[in-house]
Structures are given as C-alpha cells and as structure tokens.
Amino acid sequence: MSLDWQPKIVGFTCNWCSYAGADLAGTSRMSYPASVRIIRVPCSGRINPVFVIRAFQRGADGVLVAGCHPGDCHYSTGNMYARRRFQVARRFMEYLGMDPARLEIHWISASEGQKFQEVIRNMTDRIRAMGPNRKMREIL
C-alpha cells in the first residue's frame, strides 16, 4: 500500500454539534488528513444506516457518523435514536463482514474541534493500514 494513499471517508455530521466541531477545527487551524468529506444533516437522528451501506457501495473506505453528545441534542432526542439504530446496525454490518474499523460513530460537540481532528487522524491511520475497502463496493 502506497503511503500517500488517501482513504476516502464519508462523514455524516449533525449541523449543530459535529459540523460546528469540524468548523471549529478549521477556525483553529487544526490540521488533519484530507480523507474526510462531510455531509451535513440537521441531526444524527436523520442519518439512515442505509446511507452508510450506500457510501461503501459507491467507494467509501470509511464512514464517520457524528452527532451531539447524548443529552445535548439540539432536538433533544435525535441522537438517542441514532445511538440505538447504530448500535444494532453497526453490529449487523460487521456480521455481514464489514471491517469494524471502517464505520465509526462519535459524539463531537461544537466545542470539540480537537476531538474532531483526533477522530479523523485516528480513523485515517487505521483505514490507511487496512487499505482500500473492497467489500460491498461496486465496480464501475
């Protein structure tokens, strides 16, 4: 595996916490690998686990799902549903053979720019070590 291979990570972030956390990482000039591409949704409760499969199908090497810390949801309960959904969906994806490290779920608040940076750095390192994802991936 070439060392400059850059994994492709699709990040689903809620608007109020995690997207803002990523913004904060930017305003604080906290550098991280250019692996992640963010899709902004209002709330982690909007993230359908099927979107994750779709990302892997289309060629993502990793998927990040991020929302407000439980208890801090802008909509009060969205991340609680997300937590349940992803607890079972992630187990199921692993059951189908997806490598666990390719899907990460984190609670990142608007003030946690540094956490966002760390999450991306760690995730990128792990996925880089694994190489490109081939499972569930379509060939174009």
Binding site: A25, G26, R37, V41, R46, P49, Y75, G78
Partner: protein, 658 residues
Amino acid sequence: MIRIGVFVCWCGSNIAGTVDVGKVAEESAKMPGVVHVEQNKYTCSDPGQDSIRKAIKEHRLDRVVVAACSPRMHEMTFRKCAASAGLNQYLVEMANIREHCSWVHSDMSVATPKAVDIVRRAVAKVKRSVPLFPSTIPVEKRALVIGGGIAGIQAALDIAEAGYEVTIVEREPTIGGRMAQLDKTFPTLDCSSCILTPKMVDAASHPGIRILTCSEVEDISGYVGNFQVRLRKRARSIDEARCTACGICISKCPTSRDSEFNMGLGTRKAIYMPFPQAVPNKPTIDREICRHFTEGKCGICQKVCPSGAVDFSQEDQVLNEKFGAVVAATGATQFSVEAYGEYGYGRYPDVITGLELERLISSTGPTDGKIRRPSDGRIPRTVVFIKCVGSRDENKGYPYCSKACCMYTAKHAILLKEKIPGASAYVFYMDVRAGGKDYEEFYQRSQEIGTRYVRGRVSRIYPLDGKLIVQGEDTLLGQRVEVEADLVVLAAAMVPQIDAPEMARKLGISYNQYGFFSEAHPKLRPVETNTAGVFLAGTCQGPKDIPETVAQASAAAVKVISLFAKSELTTNPNVASVDESLCSGCLWCMNVCPYKAIEEKIITERAGKETVTRSVASVNTGLCQGCGACTVACRDGAMNLLGFTNEQILAEVEALCL
C-alpha cells in the same frame, strides 16, 4: 433544464492560499448541470454578492453553489443575496472549502482535489433542491401561565406589562403558591408575605391579567402562536361577584379538616380561604367534607351569607380558549420524608419538615408565630436540623441536589435563635452549598450565632422522656454524636409535582428521569422547551430558590413578549413532508417525533373501482423543527425532510465517492 452557477471564493488568501481556486473552478465547470462558474476574491463582499445577482440574471441560473466558508457562517448571507435576485433562497447550497478544507490542510495538491469533491457534493445536492416557501402563521397574542406561584405571577406581570393579555391558571383556590407558605426569605430575612402579597394583588388588579383559580388545564393542542387549550374551572360554590369576603360563613361552618396551607399543623373549615391574604379573596367550599354535599344537610353558610353568594348548584365550567404561548410554572412539591423510617416522621410528632417549621414560625400560622412543639405545645430549646432528606441520596430519594435547603436551614437556625433566645441548633449536613450572592455570608452568620454544624448523617431518632434522641456520626471528628432534641426538622428535598409527567405530555415537552421539565438546551436555551411556544419558569424545571425562580420567570416572559412582538411567525420550511401515496400509515414516525408534530390524517382515494379511506401521517409544519428523526423511522420512504431529502443525501454520498 437545470442551470447551476458555481461561485468559488478566494476568501483573500484564506482559501486561495491552500486551494487552487482556478482548478476548482475549472473542474466545477465540467460537472453536470453547471453552466456558469466564476471566482471572487471575497464573495461575501458587496461586489461579490453583486456578481452573484448579476450572474443569476445573465445566465438564467436556477441553482447557486457558493464554494466558500461554512454555511454556519454565510449561508443566510447568500440566501438573501439570491433571493434579492429573484431566486428562491433554498436553491442555494454552500460548499465549505474553508473551515473544512483550506484551513485544515497545507498542501495544495491535497486540498485542491478535496475542494473539488466538496463542490461536487454541493452541486449534486442543489440539483435536487426544490424551491421552498416558509409559511407564515398568525400569532394569538394571549399567554397562558400555568401555575400561580411566584414564578407564574412574575411571568404574568411582565407579559401583561408589555401589553399582552395573560391568563393564570391555578388549581388551588388562591394564587401565591409555596412562597405564600414561607415566613422569611434568605438571605435578607425579609418577610415572604410582605414581598409576595403586593405582587399577588398587582396581578389580580392588572387589567391584562385574568386569574382562574380552582382551575386546571385539561388538554392542549395546536402549536406555537396557536394553542387550543381546554380549561376546567371547578365549582367554588361561591358567586365571586356577590361575595364580599366578610368571613361570616367561615366562622359559622361546623365542619373542619387539616389545613393544607398549614401543612396539616392546624385546621380549616369546609368553607375556607387558605390564608387571609388569599387572592382572589373569596372562600371556597370543599365539597369532599361539606355536610351539605356529603350528607345533604347543613347549609348554614348559605343561611348566614348576607349577600347570598353561596351557590351549592354551581357547576364546573369548561373553557376552550386560544393562546399563542404557554408558560409552565407548575412548581414543585416536598419530598415524602416517610421514606426515611429511621427519622420517625409520622411516628414522632416532633419530627417535622422544613415547610412545617415555616408555618410554625409564621405569624399567620397555627401557633401565631410562636415555635411550639406539635406534640405538647412546649417551646423547644434544642432543635436538630437534618439536611439532604430525599436529595443527594440515590437509595431513598433522588441523586440531585435540592439546592435551596442549605440556605433555608441556615435561615431556620437564625430564626430559631431570634424567636427563642438561648435555643441551640444542630445541623447535620453532608456539604454546605452556599453559592449565590450573599449566601456564604448568610451561612457564616448562622454559624456565628452558635449553630452547631455536624458533618454526617443521622442514623436513628428515638423518643426518650419527652425528648428525641438523635444519633449520628460526626465524620469530621470520626465520633458518634448524640443530641437530646426537642424538635427535629427535616430539610426535605424539592421534588417534581406528582402529575408533572402528565402535564408534560399535555404540553408536548419532555421531562427528565425525575419528572422535572426539560429545557431545550441546558445552557443556551434554559427557558425554552423543545416545543416552540412553551416556556418554563420556576421549580417545575428543577430545584430553585426564589431569586432564581423570579429571574427565570422574567426570562420566560421576555421570550413570550418577543414572540408576541411579531405579527406573524415565519416557519422554517426545512420540515418533514409525507408522500401520502407511499405512506402505509403505521405512524411509527409519530412515536419518534419530539415535537408531537406528526398526526394521523384520514384520506379518501380511489382504489380501482372502490373509494377507500385510509390513514396516513401528516406533518404539522408549525410544530415540526426539522430534525428528521422520523425519516429514518419510516421504512416506506414516505417521510422526507425538505432541504435534506433522501434523494439529496444519496446524491451527496454518490458525489463524494466518485
């Protein structure tokens, strides 16, 4: 035909320093649907915005992508800009190539292709954007305040002062709430009634305030600006208009029971006023014990009433009214201290709660302000106070801190010394929490006058020769402590009203594991709830003292006032939307909605030759806040979130993975 314009911003060197903007523009031009691309030094500047407006017109753009900073920064700016050029503002999408790209990368060869991907995502999304139109909803400029304690009174006065009508609904026969039961208030020791009763009178006499006592909220439907509320005004059996509050009826009434206002330490009649300063100052007949109602006899009050105000035939009234905002100020109640068997409350009459002591100290109380033991009426010389009864105790009570008890116990100790010179006070405590203006000083004062603070829990109380032996441990000294007390006062925790969850359900708001109502955000939206138009004041949201309660009540009032200051409300059009042809009507979406914004709707349609009715989900766009939790709960794919549709998100995923 879709005609997208992409505007790539340099942001001076903020973007252009790390991203090859020219290359991004070049790649953007190749994306399907893109017909115009330009670069700007500062797109958010006046000339930058002008160029967008100009391009929209010249190139007949029907979608715009601004590749610049975070949408949290300038999305509104560019939406307004597009709107001023006649484009629906929801056809603008931002590509965040600054915070998410140029500012976190230093290598242009890495940042540039990433920026292109980010633009591609925005193009793919905006292609599937549709014009959205915020709708406006009228605002009924009347506020409903539920609860007539100090929180409700303060909120009502502030709202009414701003010129809006307010209705206070109080289930007791008088407003005043818990504060009316208190004798003095910390840390100033001014008389509770002296500061409360004028406010009660102000409320009663304010032309903008209507007070409904003996009344409760039965049902609330609707949404911000337009709540439909059903109220039940229980029969008082008194014609309030005729009654002159002379009190003859009360003095002649033959039936009595324990006084709720005096915490059971005294009695009241079947026809009664909870306390002399009650507002409205009219008696009420307690039909549970009144002999006219229980036995069909008596009727003395009616006979003696000089103005013919007693009306046994009065019935409950149901009022259906419309309000634009609701302030929940339903208060709290006192922890049932019976849970602590070792303290003997209920078995030993001289073990009382803090609120009972307030009544014993109060000059309007059963002892006319003389502190006397309930058992024999003797003046106690040694009083033991036990703090954290029901609070900070997961086993028998609640884990939270009840917040006001440290200070009211300090107050009690001070008042004890004042009323009974030479009396000694012991306070068993876990910690002393005196955060607040002048609070620590107040606590120090209680120590200075000789109150003995013992750090530790009381393990047992038992009676001996007319005394109560209080056994405990001083954990600081590591030794057992035994006090011969005349009176024991338990600082019972503030706990939510028993029916708080029921009220929360009526209001469509959430509550925490104890039953305190949940604010929309613990720091930034402390008086809002997750239901627009419903605000919180006072101890229904969590334990508070009076200053905090009043502050929150005024804050809630300001929220109501700013809501009413608008002639109509503009709703966020990024709301959930149902494709009725796909909806199977399972309504699982209804369960996950935190705003009660989804309801059942019956539709009629043709199916072959038959006309059938079936139920589908329907979104109340006034209530929906656009979180989208329902969309994932919907297996049919019938529920979508405008502005973040399934189509858009799937297209974004695809664009990013290409």
